[in-house]
């Protein structure tokens, strides 16, 4: 079945070569980082996590969102998702690989990465994140592969796969919850110290992940002619609409508590994030852009005239993805560090190498996704 990824036209191979080249460029930047240290990034003493951990957070969400196609299909027997469930699972696979890579490139001593297993520390959320992410990766590879294989041979799925699928549903929730807990349990960072963080993470994940899936469906239809069906996309859009609105609501609820209570320890972060201060407006324009995009896309998804229009739909999906990427990427991770515990306001601008490494990881993720989707389409077209 794997060989199906090796059969493709000229355009397919151009795309693969292009992604490979981008990944290689990122890798050469990584070699430089390996040699000189993380000093070649824009991070520093005060902002000690940046673009890598932001992307890690975002893609854990995308990976978790596979549950939004798996759950209706397997628990509610929503047949329309039959064609796209495997795409959701493969999107999860490539996303989890990316999250592991983003953590890996963020390590100062990557050669010691296995210390996390050698000196396993159950009190550390990073340990648990490592556990849940790796198990989730394995689950999705097995489920996606076995399902596709059964489909190819026109057989029933083995019973144990169904059990694994049922387990994978709460597991998907767990990967994003644990990721939120990495942040929300730190006394040092009042910006993250909120019980609403995990629900917010899940809401924004269930908006951005399915939005990516909708885009994938459009791309597949355009390139291979494989139609996932209008109804499936319509259902996905419904999910995105609700998740987007819930996400906006949760953020507003957080902001109410922060601004009404007006404890400087909490409100100063939001003040800086949205309004900046003298000489520091770095993130505020992006944050406002994120807010506007979220509202606009919510409007497009809810309005029956716009949500049935492909152009509007694609635009709104892109808007949701960008909005969430800003909000829970740089907007969440970097803002937790500004101001620092000593009240210092530090500007964080990712360096070129840092961006190259990040884009390189995107390319690796897309390569894996392309190969897996290609296999899935080939199998599904044969049947």
């Amino acid at each position: 079945m794997l060989s199906k990824a090796l059969i493709g036209g000229k355009k397919y191979w151009m795309w693969i070569i292009m992604l490979g080249a981008i990944a290689l460029a990122g890798f050469s930047s990584y070699l430089l980082q390996l040699r000189f240290g993380l000093g070649i990034t824009g991070m520093g003493k005060n902002v000690s996590w940046g673009l890598y951990i932001s992307n890690f957070t975002f893609f854990v969400g995308v990976a978790a969102s596979a549950v939004m196609v798996v759950l209706p299909y397997y628990l509610h027997n929503y047949k329309q998702f039959g064609k796209i469930t495997v795409f959701g699972e493969f999107l999860a696979v490539s996303s989890v690989v990316m999250t592991i890579l983003f953590i890996f490139v963020d390590l100062g001593q990557p050669a010691r990465a296995l210390n996390i297993i050698r000196y396993a520390s159950p009190k550390s959320l990073l340990f648990w994140d490592m556990v849940v992410l790796n198990v989730y990766l394995l689950m999705n590879i097995i489920i996606g592969w076995k399902t596709l294989n059964a489909e190819r041979k026109s057989e029933q799925q083995p019973f144990w796969i169904k059990i694994l699928i049922i387990i994978s549903i709460p597991w998907a929730i767990s990967i994003h919850t644990v990721t939120a807990f990495i942040f929300s349990g730190l006394v040092a960072r009042p910006f993250w110290l909120t019980a609403i963080l995990a629900p917010r993470f899940l809401a924004s994940a269930f908006a951005s992940g399915p939005a990516i899936l909708v885009l994938i469906c459009f791309v597949i239809k355009r390139i291979s002619g494989f139609d996932t069906g209008r109804e499936a996309i319509g259902k996905l859009v419904q999910i995105i609409a609700y998740a987007t609105v819930i996400n906006i609501f949760l953020l507003l609820a957080e902001m109410f508590t922060v601004f009404y209570s007006d404890i400087p320890e909490h409100s100063q972060y939001f003040d800086l994030l949205f309004f900046g201060t003298k000489g520091y407006y770095l993130l505020s324009p992006f944050m406002w852009l994120s807010m506007v995009l979220a509202w606009l896309s919510a409007f497009v998804f809810i309005n029956p005239h716009t949500r049935k229009n492909d152009i509007f739909l694609i635009g709104a999906c892109l808007a949701v993805i960008i909005s969430v990427w800003i909000e829970k990427g740089l907007g969440l991770v970097v803002s937790g560090f500004v101001p620092s515990p000593l009240g210092e306001i530090t500007r964080y601008i990712p360096s070129n190498h840092e961006i190259a490494i990040t884009v390189g990881i995107y390319a690796i993720g897309l390569l894996i996704l392309t190969a897996l989707v290609k296999i899935a389409i080939s199998v599904k077209s044969e049947v």
Binding site: G44, K45, W49, L107, G108, L186, A188, P341, G343, E344
Partner: protein
Amino acid sequence: MKGDGKNEDCKGLNLDRRKFLKITGLSVAGLSFSSVFSFIPKGSFANQSKQKTSPSIRKWAMVINLAACAKRPNCSDCIDACNIVHNIPTLKTPKKEIKWIWKVPYVSAFPENIHLPVKNGLKGLPVMVLCNHCENPPCVKVCPTKATWKREDGIVMMDYHRCIGCRYCMAACPYGARSFNWFDPRLFLKTVYQDFPTRTKGVVEKCNFCEERVARGFLPACVEACKENAIVFGDLANADAEVSKILQERHCIVRKPHLGTEPKVFYII
């Protein structure tokens, strides 16, 4: 610089490092405790020697007298002494700096205390800050490899050989006390102090309460370097130690007490 912390009596003994460690090891076991520390001048943490039954578990703590420190506004003796004995590199860019003990404005050190009336205009003066060696250290529980841990005597330790450089501890420290080696620190050292290891790039480090000196019966480098005796170090578990007496008699504060971390660096205001 080497050995300048040694007391005269100690020089007479001419002990090598291994013997020192041996003796300290014995003292930890509760034996010959007083004899080890008797050479330290009175007025420092040597008050312990009075105590006949030595406590088996000590709690190291530090008290910094802001008024005494403020007498020399441009002094950096404690910082310099620490930097030398711990091989701390000098990096020009503040973003990539390594800091174990450093100066910050009063409002940065005590953001929640700015409404307190503080005498002598102390509010405008800088405060020496360092790792608080918390009784309940948030950095320790987040570490995914147990590369940082709290010893029985309260010192929060770092294993530079186990740290994977994930910087979770830096995100977790409410005092900004941890630094990361963004580059190879050895490139930024003018001289290497042989009694303390240098670090590699990609690991986190911080103040270790001079545990390597305390183990040999010396005071921390910053305490020793201070000409105003503004920093006092000693055993909190011993009621007769100077730190314990100061805490009973003077009004002392700690940084961010509401977080429940229980810092063991106190400030006399």
